[in-house]
Amino acid sequence: MIRFDNVSVTYPGAAAPALRGVDLTVPEGELCLLVGPSGVGKSTLLGAVSGLVPHFTGGTLHGRVTVAGRHTHVHKPRELADVVGTVGQDPLAHFVTDTVEDELAYGMESLGVPSDVMRRRVEETLDLLGLAELRDRPIATLSGGQRQRVAIGSVLTVHPKVLVLDEPTSALDPGAAEEVLAVLQRLVHDLGTTVLLAEHRLERVVQYADQVILLPEPGAPPVVGDPAAIMAASPVFPPVVGLGKLAGWSPLPLSVRDARRAARPLRERLADRRPTPALPPQKTAAIAEASGLSVRRGRIEALRAVDLTVRPGETLALMGRNGAGKSTLLGTLTGLHEPASGTVRVGGLLPHRTPPRELVRCVGLVPQEPRDLLYADTVAAECAAADEDAGAAPGSCRALVAELLPGVPDDTHPSDLSEGQRLTLALAVVLAARPPLLLLDEPTRGLDYAAKSRLVAHLRALAADGHAIVLATHDVELAAELAHRVVILADGEIVADGRTAEVVVSSPAFAPQVAKILQPGPWLTVPQVATALGEGARA
């Protein structure tokens, strides 16, 4: 269905080609997963399938890409629209109309499909994706998972043979991600659609893949093969594979179910051991405290009667579905929203009454889009501005950047940095004011495993240093690795608050893979298991 013959792509002004020597075939009706670190050319490869590379992005494409027998070199993206459906990273940037039903019909209208066929296909797609109740809703009022499903539906109605998706689940909570993946499964099984998707969150998708394409490093040819074989050799792999490698299971399990079946001996070996508990912080004075906190945004009560205490040295993960109030809680701690009732205090101050200059020394927030924090056009200028804003000694932010992000030259433009580097720069900018309380909103969105593990190391060091850290995240693996405590929000209320192991192990949605495999044991991460086994071997 999709064929690459010795394809290389070079963008104008780039020293090296973004893709080189790509030779691969995706057969019809397969779900094919594209993995690899950031900046390796995944988006370029996806774009080459839909014809956006090189027709839209520029650059030169050597070799030949064929989709359903059509050469993308000859056919423009709009002429491929009836065979390839593309959904980009941000579904909002994909929508042309303003209501769900019109959006589903838009592609067919462009192709000139007769109106009775359009009507039938819209109804079918509404049912297939479970969107029937949302049909008249304005798109602006949908949640993240719903938007992603509408975006997929809007390209499905033209009945494409190939579906190309760029990180479809990265921004979604675990439940919504399951929803989207279930839809993709159904397309592959029932309609025989060929699906090509790129995704960093391997733990969510790898078990559904028929084939994996691994781009190991920029300019290197891809490795194509069976998921289990590729995962065994890949530098990036989900925790379930990590555990399988550690325990020496063969064949390597990709899904929690397979791993559970193989894990009986391991569970018995671990039965009398306990993970070394993450050091709970001493009972010191709270750095942030909310009691009976309610916040209204417009007519909606975003938070209701929330009681929360954060102590120095503690890492807390805020979890819950999209729109549960996580960002509002972080915003309230930084004074963006005024409490409707109850009180919130950060370092003894009322955040919404404190001028920003003073507040940054108490609490720092790295927003969901780290780019929002960066204004200057070089890293050096950004650091100088951060020192001035924070009233820190000149050079202190630059020193932090050198420590967290070694090897970045002074004159780099912040938007030329990779996703992970930009996040680290924003973190350094926030840390310049030395706030004892650090808040991060969805920090691992778009990060590959390497960038994520660097971030985890930084945050651990900060927590050991006495910083209190609050993460709002959908990433259960990150929470399992970092957090001492997990707070789960639902509909603006706290529904669970306790030690990570206690809260997370019993929850179907928020349990990390290792916990699901080794239930009912209190294990959360592969390193924990590795340490315990290592101790066992020595004893």
Binding site: T86, T99, S110, G112, T334, L373
Partner: protein, 397 residues
């Protein structure tokens, strides 16, 4: 009794407006015709009671028939704009004086002496009751016009109206729709970046903060439009059908010739000497331009998904607006004293019976148009807001 009751219920049920859904949605053009009819009526009178009645009629219909959709919220903005216009008109009348000669002086402002070349302009000075009343009526007329336009905006999805354009104009319509969805996104971006400024320890209030986020906001908007363009291209926007060159040339000739004809015809109608040939040339030009548009539509392969149908209810809604306009125009000719009461001498305005009754005709849509929610009790009860889901990450707020 049951049979008769059922029969009566059946007849009533058929006449009663159905619950609004996509299939029976009123044609957007009908709402606009109705609103423009009311606006025309408002432009014909300066009687404050009639104007207030018009505003009340438009307001009642909006309250009874608007949906929960985002565009329906624009009505409040138009109301505020109307009040602002009214206030501005009053302030100018007080500060600059009014050409209306009056004998009832309310108060005197200190008058600013102006040089002789600015003769005829006055700053401050006596403020007459007649002048103030005249300005109020005049401002009210402008405000009523704005409220009528706002009502159309709130009741009809503007995007749906553009969808009814002929095929050849479709791409221009898409550009407008995209621009309209961009505006709320820009506002959201500005808010997000201003809150991010707070995190840098800078003030998020004031004009300076707004200016400093300008560049990043523009950058973001540009990136988003590039992404949207890529998505639209990949979804088949701009696919064209093969058209023989002869037809293409004919299209160009008809459109250009038609537009020239329209210009010449309009000139003929307006100029004193060409009244004879004006109308036929205008008609000919219009016909040629329309034919050109129709032919041009053959180049696009597009089809339309569930276009709005122009049914009986659309005729009723549009007709009521046209009737209000026609009756008011007639009244303005036959009874100018009642519709534009003189400002001097000062008198309490009276409500002329027949024009008032004709304005009430504009209420017809509140009964004829499909009702937005199948509410058990009629009336502008707001739909429960609990069902509206929260926007993720405050994308809209």
């Amino acid at each position: 009794m049951t049979a008769r009751a059922r029969e009566r219920g059946g007849l009533r049920g058929r006449i009663r407006q159905p619950a609004a859904s996509r299939s029976n949605a009123l044609h957007a053009g009908a709402w606009w015709l109705w609103a423009l009819g009311l606006a025309t009526a408002a432009s014909r009178t300066s009687n404050p009671l009639l104007l207030l009645l018009l505003v009340a009629v438009a307001g009642y219909v909006v309250a009874a028939r608007r949906t929960e959709a985002p565009w329906a919220r624009s009505y409040g903005a138009f109301l505020k704009l109307g009040l602002l216009v009214l206030a501005l008109r009053l302030v100018f009348a007080v500060l600059l004086g009014s050409p209306i000669p009056g004998t009832h002086v309310l108060f005197r402002l200190p008058e600013l002496p102006l040089p002789h070349w600015a003769q005829g302009v006055r700053l401050g000075g006596p403020v007459g009751a007649e002048g103030v009343v005249f300005a109020l009526c005049d401002g009210l007329k402008l405000a009523a016009l704005l409220v009528c336009v706002g009502a159309a905006n709130a009741l009809a999805n503007p995007a749906r109206l553009l969808k009814s354009l002929p095929g050849a104009l479709y791409e221009a319509g898409v550009a407008v729709v995209v621009a309209m969805t961009f505006a709320p996104n820009l506002v959201a971006d500005v808010q997000r970046l201003r809150t991010a400024r707070r995190m840098r320890g800078r003030s998020d209030r004031g004009v300076r903060a707004l200016i400093q986020v300008g560049l990043p906001v523009l950058e973001g908007a540009l990136e988003r439009s590039v992404a949207l363009a890529a998505a639209m291209d990949a979804r088949g926007y701009g696919r064209t059908a093969e058209v023989p060159p002869g037809v293409r040339r004919l299209t160009a000739a008809l459109t250009l010739g038609g537009l020239l004809g329209v210009c010449a015809g309009t000139y003929g109608l307006l100029a004193a000497e060409g009244a004879g040939f004006g109308l036929p040339v205008l008609a000919l030009g219009l016909a040629a331009a329309l034919a050109g548009l129709w032919l041009g539509g053959r180049r696009s392969v597009r089809t339309r998904y569930r276009p709005d149908r122009w049914g009986v209810r659309a005729w009723l809604v549009a007709g009521s607006g046209v009737a209000v306009a026609a009756l008011m125009i007639h009244a303005a000719v036959s009874d100018p004293g009642a519709l534009t009461p003189p400002a001097v001498p000062l008198r309490a305005p009276t409500l002329p019976l027949w024009p008032a009754v004709s304005v009430l005709l504009g209420l017809l849509p509140a009964f004829a148009a499909p009702a937005p929610t199948p509410a058990p009790a009629p009336g502008p009860a707001p739909a429960p807001h609990r069902s509206a889901p929260r926007n993720s990450k405050g994308a809209e707020r």
